[in-house]
């Protein structure tokens, strides 16, 4: 069960290279997948989507669906600092070409 402290947080920031980047932290599930959607929607059109998953602790299929939906519309998402949980989900789900994990 997720407590308030673990609740997911997604915000558009400027990455180290100056590209807009959505930073993820905490846990994402069906209850807050829309927060993730809103943060992704803030990425300026035409810009490639970059997600920094440093603080991500959990993401379920509802959260993955939001990422995939964005990728389906605007192209693959580059994922930085993916924690092992996300790496394994991407590997097992065969999503490597859609959610591109930067090593």
């Amino acid at each position: 069960m997720s407590g308030p402290a673990e609740r997911g947080h997604a915000a558009l920031t400027n990455g180290a290279d100056g590209r807009p980047c959505v930073s993820l932290a905490g846990e994402f599930d069906v209850s807050n997948a829309d927060d993730l959607r809103r943060a992704l929607d803030e990425i300026p059109r035409g810009q490639p989507a970059v997600v920094d998953a440093t603080g991500l602790r959990f993401i379920d299929s509802s959260g993955i669906a939001v990422l995939l939906q964005h990728a389906e519309r605007f192209g693959p998402i580059d994922v930085r600092n993916a924690p092992p949980i996300l790496r394994r989900i991407v590997e097992i789900s065969g999503l490597d070409d859609v959610l591109r994990i930067e090593s």
Partner: protein, 529 residues
């Protein structure tokens, strides 16, 4: 009680607010009124006492003058010259008295007179009675001569010596009609007043009044002042408010304000009540719609999960569906088993992302499509390929992971393909291993790469275990830890003789002792040859 807690068209709390507000207003208003009344009564009383002290201070001047004259008359043996000399300066229009005279105690006289004492015209009896009372009173005797236009008040006094033989009598004029000229003394301004000789308010004994309308009415107060052998009775009545007009108006100001506030509070209460009622109605309606939708989704999902599984020789199948405890919406997990021919089965385990009616609908669409493609003879990889045309995560917001397998009961051969689905495990007496397969993207995600077919052969008595991620996914862990748990439980449970259903029961008991966060579907398949 009418529906919705209303009465006369408004809510009961509104009526309560109204009644309480009116009561409080009434009480405050009455209290303000009482404060004003008490205040005014006190002020009138203060004014009477002030006016009374003015009268009291005037009495000694009269009494002293008359007493001095009486002493003089006695000492000079009623010398007219001495009397005139002493009293003449005090007699006249503008003076203290209008007349003074000296009489014998028995009423004879006057021995000497200055001015025109009205007493002269009185009968001897009347005079004698006055003088007798002067003698016996041992003080100044007072008499009111109120007939006619020139009303007078007379004072009679004997000397303090023994054996007094003479009476000194002086008369004061009262104003015409005994109507007081406007007083300069501020003790009398702003009020009506009347001064009576004696006690009580007998209109026949009024000496002086500021108004002809007697007795005085309204807010009034009275006081008595000792006056010779008689008494002055002073009555005062307020013509107008003596204190602050704001205190006088306070009671209706309080009342008006209270009514206004009460009306406002009642209106606000009514509005809040109606708002709450509306919100409750909407919330109940939402709950009803939600329950309806949920029930539709549940019905749909249940109809997707067959209770009775088809059979072919050589294969035992068991299934479990564990609903998630988190949230109340149904998930999109499913399993399916379909006979392809007398020795082959199609086995499917899938998981649509998200929850609710949307997920259940996608699940139903995929399930029937898989059956249709399988019936056409498509292999698992082709089936998954074709499913991609039905769902798009970009459009629908849902994607699905699907494991699709065709199992041959004669040979133990399993042909399978995965669309992003967790890999199945194969267990036999020697252990448990997850199948190494190349997974394509989940259904609903577009990709130029197709799906790879993996073929394996089950060992005799070996079990293929397929499941959705609810069995292995835990917060704060990678999926590998979940896979490891499944491997451990399955390995520990290896007992070739126990039915495959026992393995599933054990997995559920040990991996989800308190239920699962997420919905979970598990399918176990054993080749029994």
């Amino acid at each position: 009680m009418p529906e919705g807690g209303r009465r006369w068209g408004v809510h009961v709390p509104t009526i309560v607010v109204l009644v309480v507000g009116l009561l409080v207003t009434a009480v405050l208003s009455v209290a303000a009124r009482a404060v004003h009344e008490r205040d005014e009564d006190r002020l009138v009383r203060q004014r009477v006492l002030a006016a009374s002290s003015v009268l009291v201070s005037a009495v000694p001047a009269i009494q002293a003058r008359v007493a001095a004259a009486a002493e003089l008359v006695e000492e000079t043996d009623a010398s007219p010259a001495a009397f005139r000399r002493a009293m003449a300066p005090h007699i006249g229009e503008e003076q203290q008295f209008v007349g003074a005279s000296v009489w014998r105690v028995d009423g004879e006289g006057p021995l000497v007179a200055i001015g025109d004492p009205k007493l002269r015209s009185r009968s001897d009896e009347e005079r004698r009675a006055l003088f007798e009372s002067a003698v016996s009173a041992d003080t100044m005797a007072v008499v009111a001569l109120l007939d006619g236009a020139d009303a007078r008040i007379g004072y009679a006094m004997t000397s303090a010596l023994e054996d007094d033989r003479f009476v000194v009598y002086a008369e004061q004029a009262l104003p015409p009609n005994r109507t007081a000229v406007p007083q300069q003394n501020e003790a009398f301004t702003g009020l009506d007043y009347a001064v009576y000789l004696g006690r009580g308010e007998d209109s026949a004994t009024v000496l002086l009044a500021s108004t002809p309308d007697l007795p005085l009415e309204g807010r009034r107060s009275a006081d008595d002042i000792e006056f010779g052998d008689s008494n002055l009775h002073l009555v005062m009545a307020a013509r107008e408010t003596l204190g602050s007009v704001w205190i006088e108006r306070a009671w209706w100001l309080v009342g008006a304000l209270g009514l206004l506030l009460t009306a406002g509070a009642a209106a606000l209460t009514e509005r809040l009540m109606r708002g709450r009622e509306r919100a409750e109605r909407l919330s109940a309606e939402n709950a009803r719609l939600y329950a309806q939708q949920r029930s539709v989704a549940q019905t749909l999902q249940h109809s997707m999960l067959p209770d009775v599984l088809p059979k072919v020789d050589g294969i035992d199948i068991a299934v479990r569906y564990v609903p998630g405890v988190e949230g109340v919406d149904v998930g999109g997990d499913w399993y399916d088993v379909m006979t392809l021919d007398d020795h082959r089965l199609l086995v499917v385990v899938g998981d649509v992302s998200g929850r609710g009616l949307g997920a259940a609908t996608v699940m139903a669409a995929l399930r029937y499509a898989i059956r249709a493609y399988a019936a056409q003879g498509d292999d698992p990889a082709t089936i998954l390929e074709k499913l991609g045309r039905l769902v798009s995560v970009g459009r629908d917001g849902h994607f699905a992971t699907v494991l699709c397998a065709i199992v041959d009961g004669d040979t133990g051969t399993v042909t399978l393909a995965s669309a992003g689905h967790p890999p199945p495990a194969v267990a036999d007496g020697s252990g448990c291993e997850f199948v190494s397969l190349t997974s394509g993207v989940p259904v609903g995600v577009s990709s130029p790469n197709g799906y790879a077919t993996t073929t394996l052969t089950l060992p005799p008595g070996g079990t293929l275990l397929a499941f959705t991620d609810g069995l292995v996914e835990r917060r704060g862990e990678t999926l590998d830890e979940g896979f490891e748990r499944v491997r451990r439980v399955t390995t520990a449970a290896r007992d070739g003789a126990a039915p495959v259903d026992d393995l599933l029961a054990r997995l559920v008991d040990e991996l989800m002792p308190n239920g699962s966060d997420d919905d979970t579907a598990i399918l176990g398949l054993r080749w029994t040859r």
